[in-house]
């Protein structure tokens, strides 16, 4: 691959331009959150004159942000845990036992990856209503669990299949039950796969706003994304507070990303590439 003198710098320019387009709005969001509204209107592009947390105070006065945050955290963590439990059991069964229906079971689960579940939202609404789960965080927890199952099973099954069986067989000789083998022998060995599955599903449930939009109307049961919706509806005058809200709701994800960026990027593409 030979390059002329001009190609390399040209490539760098292009890459920098696109990287700036990607980053600039996010930086602008964070910087603006430290400015009072009138400063945003006057100098939208400049650095804040002084870092004040005033806008954050305004935000917290206007909406029950901490409640939203708490709801989001409960929903995301619970659904990720449920996904890990249900799918590691199911994937273990599919990958390690050879009943004739196992392949059918596998395809049954994979089907869910090709069909957008949004299309079933009307019956889902009816189901949630009949189960008395509307305006309950459980509606979201069940939804995210169900939605996460196909991809998680695909990833975990793939991982189980590449794992050696010796340890499991040794444990079985010692009379360990299947559940014990899965819990004590297999799961500790598959931390990377578990991490990937946890991260994909965490992003998914933390950021989703379609299901809470439909299932949740109670102000105190809203998650961050739908909570933000009301902010923009009613208080659209205070830009500083708006930026503070956007920053605050993205912060957990961005912090997590910088702790485990590799896992994030691998996780999100795992489903597509495998």
């Amino acid at each position: 691959m030979k390059d002329t003198i001009w190609t390399k710098p040209f490539y760098y320019v292009i890459a920098f331009v696109f990287a700036s387009i990607s980053l600039y709005p996010i930086i602008l969001m964070i910087l603006s959150s430290f400015k009072p509204s009138r400063e945003i209107f006057m100098n939208p592009l400049s650095l804040p004159k002084s870092f004040s947390l005033e806008t954050y105070q305004t935000l917290l006065d206007q909406i029950p942000f901490m409640t939203y945050f708490y709801n989001s955290a409960i929903v995301s963590v619970t659904s990720v845990l449920l996904i890990l439990v249900t799918t590691s059991l199911a994937a273990f069964y599919i990958a390690r036992y050879t009943f004739w229906w196992n392949n059918y079971l596998f395809f049954f689960f994979l089907m869910g990856m090709m069909i957008p579940i949004k299309l079933g939202i009307v019956p889902l609404f009816v189901i949630m209503k009949n189960l008395d789960l509307l305006n309950s965080l459980w509606s979201l927890i069940f939804m995210y669990t169900a939605q996460g199952i196909p991809l998680s099973i695909l990833i975990l099954t793939g991982f189980f299949r590449t794992m050696q069986r010796e340890l499991e067989e040794a444990a079985r000789m010692d009379g360990a039950s299947d559940l014990r083998i899965l819990w004590n022998v297999v799961l500790p060995l598959m931390r990377p796969a578990i991490g990937t599955v946890a991260i994909i599903n965490f992003i998914q449930s933390w950021n989703d706003f379609f299901f809470p939009l439909i299932f949740i109307t109670d102000e105190l049961k809203k998650t961050i994304p739908v909570g933000m919706l009301s902010l923009f509806g009613e208080h659209s005058a205070d830009w500083g507070a708006l930026f503070a809200g956007l920053t605050l709701s993205s912060l957990p994800m961005i912090v997590l990303f910088f702790i485990a960026s590799k896992q994030f990027m691998e996780g999100l593409t795992a489903g597509a590439v495998k």
Binding site: M1, Y11, I26, V85, Y93, G120, V122, F232, M253, A272
Partner: protein
């Protein structure tokens, strides 16, 4: 004594039987949750589409009436074809501005550009934001009076480019799609990058020794080997384009403002199923019919796309 042993054996056998039976419980929780909240609703949506609905109460079986109305009865058919066209534009623009650019940038990073890791992270970062945050953030940036974009254009002396991007029916749709590209480009880039990295190095080295120029190498060696990644990204983009809802809803509301110029099938579906922000009544039967049409459309074209690209792969 003998009885005792027998008893013991029996108990052991029972225990083993139980163990053998217990393993079949393993997939049950997943099947229940997935069956109840994914499979059943999709099947139910199909059955809903064949009935008349009065609010949330089911009426008579009406055969294909809902489907016929969806395609031919105004204003429903007008909304349908209008948003269908927008979905097609969504798909095409994303292919060009998201996937083609992502492909090119992935190639640059693959060619061991310095700071490759930084570029990767920078381009991926928007993907971490919730779509609603993306929508609101850009709504603020694109604000005609105080938004950063118009101010920035002014600073560069490009006043004549300043616009009410989201308020003008001519630019609103394309603006939203470009915001969607901003959000999704890093994800596509990662898929392409994984594809490039999977190309066997020996092939490229051999070609370099034979004196192949960069463009030719791209065309004859890399592109054919990249077909699987191109296939995945195209199919994903297709599905996403026809599902497009969140961003339009966040930026332009459930009516696809201004004047339905940003309406998509999924937004229209939401309106039919749950009523719009303007207090339209719900139309469950029509909404379900639309869901079924969308489902058939998405699955058919996904299958066709996959087939077409697989054939291409073999030819090359």
């Amino acid at each position: 004594m003998e009885l005792e042993i027998n008893k013991k054996l029996n108990r052991k056998k029972q225990k083993r039987n139980w163990k053998r039976w217990a393993i079949h419980l393993f997939p049950v929780p997943a099947i229940i949750v997935y069956g109840l909240f994914i499979v059943y609703p999709l099947l139910a949506a199909l059955s809903y589409s064949f009935f008349d609905w009065n609010g949330m109460i089911r009426g008579d079986f009406v055969g294909f009436k809902n489907f016929v109305n969806l395609f031919t009865l105004e204003p429903f058919s007008g909304f349908f074809w209008n948003s269908f066209g927008h979905n097609i534009i969504y798909f095409v623009v994303q292919l060009v501005f998201q996937n083609a650019i992502a492909f090119f940038l992935a190639y640059l990073i693959y060619k061991k550009l310095k700071f490759g890791e930084f570029f990767k992270i920078a381009l991926f970062l928007p993907r971490l934001l919730s779509v609603i945050v993306v929508g609101f953030l850009w709504k603020l940036i694109l604000n005609p009076n105080f938004g950063a974009l118009n101010v920035l254009l002014g600073k560069f002396g490009l006043e004549n480019l300043q616009k009410a991007w989201l308020g003008d029916p001519d630019t609103a749709l394309i603006t939203i799609i470009l915001v969607n590209c901003w959000f999704g480009i890093g994800f596509m880039l990662l898929i392409f990058l994984a594809g490039f990295q999977a190309i066997p190095k020996e092939l490229l080295e051999a070609a370099t020794l034979d004196g192949a120029k960069e463009f030719k190498m791209m065309k004859t060696i890399m592109l054919p080997l990249m077909i699987p990644s191109i296939m995945i990204t195209t199919v994903l983009t297709f599905i996403q384009s026809f599902e497009a809802f969140e961003l339009v809803y966040a930026m332009q509301g459930s009516q696809g403002e201004p004047y339905h110029s940003t309406d998509t099938l999924a937004v229209y579906f939401y309106r039919l199923a749950f009523g719009g922000s303007t207090g339209d009544s719900t139309a469950i039967g029509l909404g379900s019919a639309l869901a079924v049409v969308l489902f058939i459309f998405i699955s058919t074209f996904t299958a066709l796309l996959l087939k077409f690209m697989q054939k291409k792969e073999v030819e090359m």
